[in-house]
């Protein structure tokens, strides 16, 4: 066991390997306020990567409805239950990570999903947290009755549990982009990684008898293109980019801006200790206790920042660049005078420029030329 720095929990922690951050880290931000659970991302991933034998049940990308959904079923609550109540003191996690809570002879807390746990990717879909009392109606900003969609892919963790668990060292994290891959020629299907990944994102192929996982669309990323699940998102809730460690963050880089500068995008279950690299803008209409357990102590600040977004031209500008370009945005700028935001590639060339606010058009209710009344005049 070595000691590594995990900034998401504000302290050092135990991990089987020494700290070795990649030159660049694959990361993405998903805005949960905008996800409509349409599963276009799921289908884009499915048709690209998991249409082979033994992959029939596999969803490297899935969207589940919280609080009850989960693929595999109970991936989150099984770990939370095994860890038991744990504590944060401010931004510092004083509880135990999954590595630190490991039983003797195991590198971390593990759980093997049962066959049926993979059989219901839509379990809990569109189910709300409770029943609607007679006469109840939405009370903003937090709904008495709520649910939200949680889109998920591999977190391409800084400290992957799958890498730590593989007795064969057949899983590796690429130094060039931090993408985590299972070597398909060395894997022997022991499924230690399947048991280790708390996010349930390593899956066993029962025909090929080896384990497989989200590959971060590395052939696309190597060409400077964002992954399929990002570029096909019709709600434009996703942006993929590269994330720096906090001490090297640059505010003109999209991931660094959202995660480190504005802290509006949060890690998923940071207390697990993996320093996952998919970040979420938490949904504003969900009880804070649930969100704090899920996204950590940054939840309240993130929601406040997000709700103030209309007064934050940079944040608003960057949120408008979500889903607007296929290419990976290495940096971005906003132009307050023209009301535009633009994204740039690694050489500073402009890739995309969008208006942050569409111009207003007001049309008369009655169109005399056509002799019709308009239903929509703006």
């Amino acid at each position: 066991m070595g000691t590594v720095k995990n900034w998401q929990i504000g302290r050092e922690m135990e991990y089987p390997f020494p700290e070795s951050r990649p030159r660049r880290q694959f990361a993405a931000v998903f805005d949960l306020n905008k996800c409509i659970g349409c599963q276009t991302c799921t289908m884009a991933c499915k048709t690209t990567w998991t249409v082979g034998k033994g992959q029939e049940y596999m969803l490297w990308n899935n969207v589940e409805t919280k609080p009850y959904g989960g693929y595999p079923m109970g991936w989150d609550v099984t770990r939370l239950e095994r860890l038991g109540p744990q504590t944060w003191e401010g931004d510092r996690y004083t509880g135990k990570t999954l590595f630190e809570a490991a039983p003797a002879g195991e590198p971390m807390v593990k759980h093997l999903p049962e066959e049926l746990d993979w059989a219901h990717p839509n379990a809990g879909e569109d189910e709300a947290a409770g029943t609607l009392d007679r006469g109840a109606y939405f009370t903003m900003p937090v709904h008495g009755m709520w649910s939200f969609y949680l889109p998920r892919i591999c977190m391409h963790c800084t400290y992957p549990a799958c890498v730590a668990a593989c007795p064969r060292q057949a899983i590796y994290k690429r130094p060039e982009d931090g993408i985590v891959l299972v070597d398909q020629s060395r894997c022997r299907g022991y499924r230690e990684c399947v048991q280790a990944c708390p996010y349930g994102k390593v899956l066993y192929n029962p025909v090929l008898r080896i384990s497989q996982k989200c590959i971060g669309c590395f052939p696309a990323v190597e060409q400077g293109t964002q992954p399929r699940c990002v570029t096909t998102c019709i709600g434009k809730i996703r942006l993929m980019g590269f994330l720096s460690p906090p001490d090297q963050a640059r505010a003109d880089r999209p991931m660094d801006f959202l995660v480190h500068a504005r802290k509006v995008a949060l890690p998923l279950y940071p207390q697990f200790g993996l320093e996952g690299n998919i970040y979420y803008i938490p949904p504003v209409n969900v009880p804070r206790g649930f969100l704090r357990q899920m996204f950590g102590p940054g939840t309240d600040g993130a929601i406040e920042t997000y709700l103030r977004g209309k007064d934050d031209p940079e944040l608003l500008g960057l949120l408008h660049l979500f889903g607007d370009a296929k290419e990976i945005l290495e940096s971005f700028r906003t132009f307050p005078t023209t009301g535009e935001a633009a994204g740039y590639d690694g050489k500073g060339r402009e890739i995309v420029r969008v208006p942050v606010k569409e111009p207003d058009y007001l049309r008369p209710f009655y169109d005399a030329a056509r002799q019709v009344y308009r239903h929509n005049i703006t």
Binding site: P107, R188, E192
Partner: protein, 291 residues
């Protein structure tokens, strides 16, 4: 990775014990010479006359993950040779036959290990101290005895309308995936991973190792084997030429002694990989070649 396995002192102790055991000849198995060809069959009548030893198994608690309460307590081992080939017959009680793997289940297996040189650490060898490992797997046996465990075998009620680039009709047997575009999805098969091959020729995988985490399938596969499950027990034959013209040939030969160690897995107890029961070294006393 090495640092986390266990404190160095403990590693050294186990290392020393392993070597010492090999020399102390804790248990010995007489390996008689037989004049015939040795059928790769645990039901061969010649096995009745072969001496047997009971090999006790211990928990594997060196490399993570440990298996402190292994399911299989001992193996009954016999061996014979005919001057060219050596064959082992290994039997053990197992209440359930586990030969098919779903996402949450594991298969039964047994393996034997022989140093390539004179001796090697019991912990699957060590750097520069290579071991040869012959690993029989119940799922490979199932592939051979019945048919490759494809979706139609694993999930008879499953239906898939279509796979891209695959011609034919459901259930689109894997052997029909001839289009290179389709085969890209069969990663393990295309990359030559022995586990993923639909056309298995034997249920034994020949491998080498120089310590934990280094297990590697050898290019040349010379071992063969067959396992039969009957009356609550597995009976497995593993056979290999003494010398296969391979740089990984062990230093075993007729008329000499050689160490061998065993490991066994009960799939029903979710044992796989490092989650295994292991033996200490035992000594093979190989009979001289007779007339």
């Amino acid at each position: 990775m090495r640092a986390r396995r266990l404190p160095l002192a403990l590693l050294a102790l186990i290392f020393a014990l392993g070597l010492a055991a090999a020399e102390a000849q804790q248990a010995a198995l007489q390996v008689p010479f037989v004049k015939t060809a040795i059928p790769v069959d645990p039901g061969w009548t010649g096995w009745k006359a072969a001496p047997a030893v009971q090999v006790p198994l211990m928990p594997q608690a060196v490399a993570q993950p440990w298996n402190l309460t292994p399911s299989i307590k001992q193996l009954r081992v016999q061996a014979v040779h005919n001057g060219t080939w050596i064959a082992f017959r290994i039997s053990w009680k197992d209440a359930t036959k586990n030969a098919v793997m779903y996402t949450d289940s594991f298969r039964d297996a047994v393996a034997l290990m022989v140093p390539v040189g004179k001796a090697a650490p019991i912990i699957m060898g060590g750097p520069g101290e290579r071991v040869l490992i012959l690993h029989w797997k119940a799922d490979w046996q199932e592939d051979i005895d019945r048919t490759f465990q494809d979706i139609a075998q694993l999930y008879p009620n499953a239906w898939q309308d279509w796979y891209p680039f695959v011609a034919g009709e459901p259930p689109y047997d894997i052997t029909a995936w001839t289009n290179p575009e389709a085969r890209r999805y069969l990663t393990g098969w295309v990359l030559g991973n022995p586990r993923s091959q639909p056309d298995k020729r034997t249920a034994v995988e020949e491998q080498i190792a120089e310590g934990f985490s280094t297990l590697t399938t050898t290019e040349r596969q010379s071992a063969v084997g067959k396992g039969v499950y009957a009356d609550g027990a597995w009976h497995v034959v593993i056979a290999r030429p003494f010398a296969a013209g391979d740089p990984n040939d062990p230093a075993w030969r007729p008329g000499r002694s050689a160490p061998v160690a065993f490991a066994a897995w009960d799939g029903g107890a979710k044992e796989i990989g490092a989650r295994k029961a292991i033996s200490d070294w035992i000594t093979l006393k190989l009979g001289a070649v007779g007339r």
